[in-house]
Symmetry: C2
Subunit: 314 residues, 2 copies
């Protein structure tokens, strides 16, 4: 009854050591190591190579080491076993910190005042709109989207949400489906993207969508904050919308290609903010503990938490 | 029954016009204009010249056009009439926006990631502490301090407060008086100063106080955020503490001399953030409305709101 660690881009040895510590008495092995495939009951994955989990006859479950599971969807040979995501309260709090911080920096024109400091300029023409006059629209109403909406509301912003399926959230105007998208965008000054990446959402943040944002808001121009997945966005379109004046700023934590290539014009565009996909990160130990708890639940016959609907894609 | 507008540094004509509009049927005059001193019943002041309100025999009240009233305390000839401050919900919200934004920028190392973007560096070593491991201590537990504490708590920070007199606030460790200051500082990683400026608090943010901040916290070094009054701080001491390593960053919205002189080393210190005393500003119309409402209350025999205790100084 072994646990297989199948990660790329992360330090495998650290993860093996971590799970060994968290699951005393069990054997923890790394993908490609020396083990009997029939001994593997659980796989923990972060971007495992496609097909690498397909020849494990006794596999019972796959645990994504992140909140996103799009990395699993790219594997056409993914075994037909339950898949769970990580839902970590710390990760949720992190994401809201990022969203609230950037929304406040836009509201309070923080980049303007930083520039003024660099230029030794003391100037305050007090033309900042009130938070309640700035409408933040959150796309994606899962755990992350709802927590961000709560905290944006506490800070005084007017908020609304959009999701594929209908939601009801106290005090939040909720839009849904294809029909709800245009009206949602038309009343949004700051668009916060926290969608999962699925075949339906891939490339969704394109010129057509961005041009649908409110052009009559209290901010000079609408602003995009994408902290979801890079695959959601069309970067050529984002740059075009910044140039043609339909978009004021783009605050991006995720990119079509990560790390963002040095040649990307996003790096040095004066109205683009780049962060290295760190809006929300979990402490590795916290992730390990959550996965170890899931294995414990399974062995005690309890239902797994945070199951992924593979057909829906998240 | 006239209203006298006595302001310096602000556009007097705009304020006269505003009060004329808000107080139809009343005469509104500017200090130094052509009026009978006996006709003045109310004065609205922002930094009026000392002595300029002393020869108004029928003056009934003075209305500060700001939350702070230290500008009135400098007038030894201030008439002995009720004085009120502005307590504007918008101003309170503004101040909390500033405090929460800067606390989050410290927590999330926003300046580091801005620098990395400028240098085309994609690097995330994920060494950011959790908000709950960062202790924010707020000095001053009036309306502004309490609102900031609420919102910092919502964002996940551990919070405490210090005030001259004892306070009880749900979920907040409150320290008070001279005896409480050292223990308060010793458990504070981010010090937020929202104190009123009085003879007791002048120059209080000095080297001795700053060296008392926690040196064992989750941040590399303690951080100062002063959004109260510049007179609270000793800028020579702040710079010395940044240099000797007892202070990590100073985020200052207020200064001993404002505008901050171009020669001040604060402008270009790599660990100082300067903003032009705009952390919390009210819309002039909102201030005007609040003062007009106070005049209405007085004439209807209702008690004035937000009275200043002149002996206490705030």
């Amino acid at each position: 009854m072994s646990v297989l660690v199948a990660v790329t881009g992360w330090d495998v040895a650290h993860w093996v050591e971590r799970f060994q510590r968290l699951l005393p008495g069990r054997t923890v092995v790394a993908l490609g190591g020396d083990y009997d495939p029939a001994s593997i009951h659980y796989a923990v994955s972060w971007k495992h190579p496609a097909g690498s989990l397909s020849e494990l006859p006794n596999l019972k479950a796959i645990f994504s080491l992140g909140a996103g599971v799009d990395h699993l969807m790219n594997d056409p040979h993914l075994p037909d076993v339950p898949v769970t995501r990580v839902v970590d309260p710390d990760l949720t709090a992190r994401m809201s910190e990022y969203v609230v911080m950037h929304a406040l920096m836009v509201l309070r024109q923080q980049r303007r005042y930083q520039k003024q400091q660099a230029e030794t300029v003391w100037l305050d023409d007090r033309d900042q709109p009130a938070a309640q006059d700035v409408r933040v629209g959150v796309m994606g109403l899962g755990v992350l989207g709802r927590d961000a909406l709560d905290k944006l509301q506490v800070m005084g912003f007017s908020v609304s949400g959009w999701s594929r399926s209908a939601h009801l959230i106290d005090g939040v105007a909720c839009f849904s489906g294809e029909d709800g998208l245009k009206p949602f965008l038309a009343q949004t000054d700051i668009l916060v993207v926290l969608l999962p990446l699925t075949p339906d959402t891939r490339g969704m943040i394109n010129a057509e969508l961005l041009k649908g944002l409110a052009q009559d808001g209290a901010l000079p121009k609408p602003v995009l904050i994408n902290a979801g997945r890079g695959g959601l966005q069309n970067e050529t379109d984002i740059l075009a919308c910044l140039e043609d004046g339909s978009l004021g700023e783009a605050i991006l934590d995720v990119f079509e290609t990560e790390p963002l290539p040095a040649a990307s014009p996003l790096w040095h565009h004066p109205r683009v903010v780049v962060s290295p996909h760190n809006a929300a990160m979990s402490a590795p130990d916290a992730i390990g503990q959550l996965v170890a708890r899931q294995i414990g639940r399974m062995e005690q016959g309890q239902p797994l938490l945070h199951l992924v609907e593979m057909k829906r894609g998240y």
